[in-house]
């Protein structure tokens, strides 16, 4: 698996698509089967009207361009963009693409942070998809802070949680804690990919990590610097972590009222 914390220029699709294409090439060269990009990497968080203008439908031009890139450098891609829904609303959407670019699933961010509520509409569904026998869940940035969301996906059998993020300073510490906690408490891998750079008063510091079910950090990207890294994960670790106890089975839902 690869994480690519690449720069994102607010509102500049062409620059961002070039960065995405470059990331696909590099991750492919590193031997990655699956690549996770940061949250809403196509455009960044611009203001409401601009975001509506830049948002694309699921078969928009940017998607077509990314699909063409994957045809040459095939890998599963976790790609996040502002989606113009068929209902005319804008969603913070993450797409899981097949190696050849065919979309397998779309997840619309369900927990919106503060100002995001003004510019996008929340999704209404959590997604767990199975690919080559591995079950993936997707949660985006603020979603990760709710233990219920990751737990609900784990109860559906999730092995790997994919987390595109645009987490800004000074919230590096809570996100590190939450990434490790979700991995531990659900016996899963968590791939957390955060953006870098600055916009208005926000600074995004990267520090993307990939954590195994024992809470061990397998891969850690640089602090606020472009960085693409790949690591192999061992799915047996999930079974190993359930050896002594299994949180999913030892829950007592009748008490949680």
């Amino acid at each position: 698996m690869a994480l690519a914390q690449i720069p994102c220029r607010e509102g500049d699709k062409e620059a961002n698509l070039q960065e995405i294409e470059q990331a696909i090439e590099e991750a492919h060269t590193q031997g990655a089967d699956i690549l996770v990009l940061p949250e809403i990497i196509l455009t960044g968080f611009v203001h409401r009207e601009a975001l509506r203008m830049l948002a694309e439908t699921r078969d928009g031009e940017s998607m077509a361009r990314i699909r063409r890139k994957l045809a040459d450098f095939p890998l599963y891609l976790v790609y996040s963009f502002p989606e113009l829904g068929s209902d005319g609303e804008v969603y913070n959407t993450t797409c899981f693409l097949q190696k050849d670019g065919t979309p397998l699933a779309y997840y619309r961010k369900t927990h919106l942070f503060a100002g995001e509520k003004k510019i996008t509409k929340p999704g209404e569904e959590l997604i767990c998809l199975e690919v080559e026998g591995v079950k993936f869940g997707i949660l985006v940035c603020f979603d990760l802070e709710f233990p219920e969301a990751a737990r609900a996906l784990a109860m559906q059998g999730m092995h790997v949680l994919l987390v595109p993020s645009a987490n800004m300073s000074p919230y590096e510490y809570p996100h590190r804690i939450f990434t490790v906690a979700r991995a531990l408490e659900n016996h899963i891998f968590v791939a957390y990919c955060n953006r870098i750079g600055a916009h208005k008063s926000f600074v995004y510091r990267g520090q993307s990590i990939l954590v195994d079910p024992s809470g061990k950090i397998l891969l850690e990207c640089a602090d606020n610097k472009r960085d693409i890294q790949t690591v192999q994960i061992q799915l047996e670790n999930i079974r190993d972590s359930r050896d002594m106890y299994n949180y999913l089975e030892e829950r007592r839902p009748e008490l949680y009222r």
Copy 2:
């Protein structure tokens, strides 16, 4: 608030009661209003038959002795012992005592770890009690590893989570992560008091901590050494931590299925 990670001799009530009495004196001298002791500090985890022999009812001799001590050195006490229930079963029980020793609430550990299931019976209720306008929840050791348990208490208005523990090596790291995660994700204080010493193949390393709603560690006890420390907590921090977002209000329970 004070945490006392004091030694525990397996099966030796007299030695342990002396340690508890000493801890009450010291915490009182430090100016603590409330003192948290480690899990099942009266006896430790002895084998099944021994634990049954040593277990006491709620108004047993050890409780009477602790109440007498509190009469001289008043403080709220969180005290954990093997309880012989009126049903003849043994429970891993934590009692919250009024400053004069009057019991205000009993919590029977609801999530039992591995071998504990052979020696004690699980409780059937989570407890949130209000004292002087502050709402306290109690979770014991393994309980903390289930996000649902702390969340359920937070939904009842909990401000401070009290966690007596007997967590053994090499699980220091998960417990540290969980302690901080529960504080952050519920906007609460978490007072985690772990035992020290060794028994059979187990080593307990202490490292008790008190964490505020921003995840900051306000107090940290030594690694595997007797240590009693007191710190003042500011309940306004709970309100501050809900300034930008409020996890309890922004949950989307309709999606967690």
